[in-house]
């Protein structure tokens, strides 16, 4: 199966990368382990957005709501239910997927900008309820001190847990993107009318895609809670959604690993620029402007365009 899925070179690079990441915590100070664990969660989030954005061509403007919803579902499950922790990890993504189904049923019949704007409005409704419902969600304070056992809650534990879950999810998503379902999805992106004409149920396809993406965003939400041990309403605010969009754009949204690369760049930049200045968003804004002017295909897109064709010529 892997032979069909990856080229030999990609497999080798992937295995080496994974091995390096597994060994890394032995050498890194604690702060970097925490940072990496966070980056894994955001990589998963950005890649799940790109499934519908880059491969489905849907204007998913409010993806963070599924991420936040998953995180809240997990946090509330852990603090209120008293059931075993692993059940939370299973249930929370399904809660996010359910929200995706509900929002999707309302929004998929719309196209492009209308779809995106309606998503922002519905997502903001979810955010507004979370923000105001003090007795249940903790309102604008959120929920802090969520008890996670040390095995996965300590910084090294969270690192390994997030690494394994993210790697597994990325593999799953890669398989979905390359399955007949994923190919159909890309067909819809490139020409919805023609897909409709050859008998594809475009709306159902989009709905299923959205639910799957919401599911993985929910997984990313649980990973965030594992690292941070708290949730707050900002997790589902629309500005975060646009930040994830920037990650996809930065990395390149026609390539599977692009958004993950974008997430790594943005999180690393934010962490280190944040040490020197409090005006991080100013810098992010300028980076984004330069990006749109000079690099609309993203970093990885540029890299593949410049490097890979040259290799092919040699071959």
């Amino acid at each position: 199966m892997f032979k069909a899925l990856f080229s030999k070179k990609t497999t080798i690079v992937g295995i080496i990368l994974l091995a390096a990441l597994l060994l890394l915590p032995q050498f890194l100070p604690r702060f970097y382990i925490y940072l990496f664990a966070m980056i894994f969660a955001i990589c998963l989030l950005a890649t799940s957005l790109n499934m519908v954005l880059g491969f489905g061509g849907m204007y998913q403007f409010h993806h963070a709501v599924f991420y936040g919803f998953g995180a809240y579902a997990f946090a509330l499950f852990v603090t209120k239910s008293g059931l075993p922790l692993w059940m939370g990890y299973v249930i929370a993504p399904f809660c996010a997927a359910l929200l995706g189904l509900v929002l999707g049923l309302i929004t998929v019949r719309l196209t492009q900008l209308y779809f995106g704007m309606l998503q922002i409005s519905l997502g903001s409704l979810v955010w507004a309820i979370t923000y105001r419902w003090y007795s249940f969600t903790g309102g604008d304070d959120g929920i802090h001190g969520i008890p996670i056992p040390d095995l996965i809650g300590s910084s090294t534990g969270a690192y390994y847990f997030n690494l394994i879950v993210t790697a597994a999810c990325l593999l799953l998503m890669y398989m979905i993107v390359n399955s007949p379902f994923g190919r159909t999805f890309q067909g819809i992106r490139d020409n919805p009318e023609r897909c409709e004409a050859v008998g594809v149920n475009v709306q159902r396809q989009k709905l299923v895609g959205l639910v799957i993406a919401a599911f993985f965003a929910g997984v990313a939400g649980t990973l965030f809670v594992t690292v941070e041990g708290s949730v707050f309403p900002d997790l589902m605010f629309w500005t975060l959604s646009l930040e994830i969009l920037i990650m996809c754009l930065l990395g390149g949204w026609f390539i599977f690993m692009g958004p993950a690369l974008g997430a790594i760049i943005i999180i690393t930049l934010r962490t280190f620029v944040g040490i020197y200045t409090e005006y991080w968003t100013l810098i992010l804004g300028i980076v984004l402007m330069l990006l749109i002017f000079f690099l609309p295909e993203g970093v990885l897109g540029l890299f593949l365009k410049k490097i890979v064709p040259a290799e092919k010529k040699e071959g």
């Binding site: 309302i106 309606l118 903001s124 409704l125 923000y131 968003t281 984004l288 609309p296």
Partner: protein, 298 residues
């Protein structure tokens, strides 16, 4: 039904009037957004930031004159014009090179601007909140058959229709308005008959942003002027534009009415979840009319 008992007719009427004055602000901001969206096809997220800049500038100019009546009126005129100048520079410098890009890119580009403007405001004015008092004769309230109504809200209720009438005049009776409406439908055709579409776009963009600044200037005496007011208004403005029909100014008026009234009546019914009511109204409208209430220019 405990809450229903507390609602007297007067209280309801008062909330409706407050809601209508909120509608005025929302309409002014949303109509500017709708204009830009309809003609230039730019979903301008920086619109909210311009609104915030308008409010901060109003504060600064009015404070230069010791928050006197003269200062207030001067600020009300100058601050939106400053916002218009900023938007003119931005449009000619950057946006005019990007009109051919897809919506997603334009949206992200305006988001980049909102990030930059947000931090600029933080750099210039700091992160404390500011407050501004209206001139003396607009302060306090007067009573209509026994219940108090703030004077400033009445002032807003007069300004709102004036702006609407001005916009109607601009789009229907002036040459630039007619060209802009034509360009909204078919920009290539307008260009083909020898009109410089690029400058028409610049004019429309500046007028739209002027309205954002005007909204910010008008709202300044009614609330704290803070960081984050850009994020709050822009989502509301977008929702209003969507439920009204993209690019339709009367749709923006209708949308603002729905949003303002559901918000103020929501406060009466269920104060804690008042924020939810307008969103629910939006969702309901879009379930039945997914492309907005009035005809969109798209």
């Amino acid at each position: 039904m405990e809450f229903a008992a507390n609602i007297t007719l007067f209280a309801l009427l008062q909330q409706v009037l407050v809601g209508l004055s909120r509608t005025t602000i929302l309409f002014i901001v949303a109509s500017g957004l709708s204009l830009v969206l309809g003609v230039l096809r730019i979903p301008n997220i920086a619109h909210g930031s311009l609104y915030m800049i308008g409010a901060f500038l109003t504060y600064t100019i009015a404070t230069l004159f010791g928050q006197s009546a003269l200062g207030f009126w001067l600020a009300l005129i100058v601050a939106p014009l400053c916002v218009a100048v900023i938007s003119f520079l931005v449009e000619r410098g950057l946006f005019c090179h990007l009109y051919e890009r897809e919506h997603m890119m334009l949206l992200l580009f305006t988001f980049a601007f909102s990030l930059v403007f947000g931090d600029m405001v933080k750099l210039i004015w700091g992160s404390d909140y500011r407050s501004l008092t209206a001139p003396l004769f607009l302060q306090g309230s007067f009573s209509i058959s026994g219940f108090p109504f703030p004077r400033y809200n009445l002032f807003l209720l007069i300004v709102g229709p004036l702006v609407a009438a001005g916009l109607w005049f601009l789009t229907n009776k002036t040459k630039i308005g007619k060209i802009a409406r034509a360009a909204a439908v078919d920009r290539e055709m307008v260009g083909a008959i020898g009109i410089n579409v690029s400058w028409v776009f610049a004019a429309v963009f500046v007028i739209g942003c002027y309205l954002a600044g005007l909204g910010g200037a008008l709202v300044a005496p009614t609330q704290n002027i803070t960081q984050g007011m850009d994020h709050a208004i822009i989502i509301e403005a977008f929702l209003i534009v969507i439920i009204g029909g993209l690019g339709n100014i009367w749709g923006a008026l209708l949308g603002a009415l729905i949003f303002g009234l559901t918000d103020s009546i929501g406060i009466l019914l269920l104060p804690q979840f008042a924020i939810v009511f307008p969103y629910m109204a939006v969702v309901t409208v879009l379930l039945f009319r997914p492309k907005g209430l009035l005809k969109s220019v798209w």
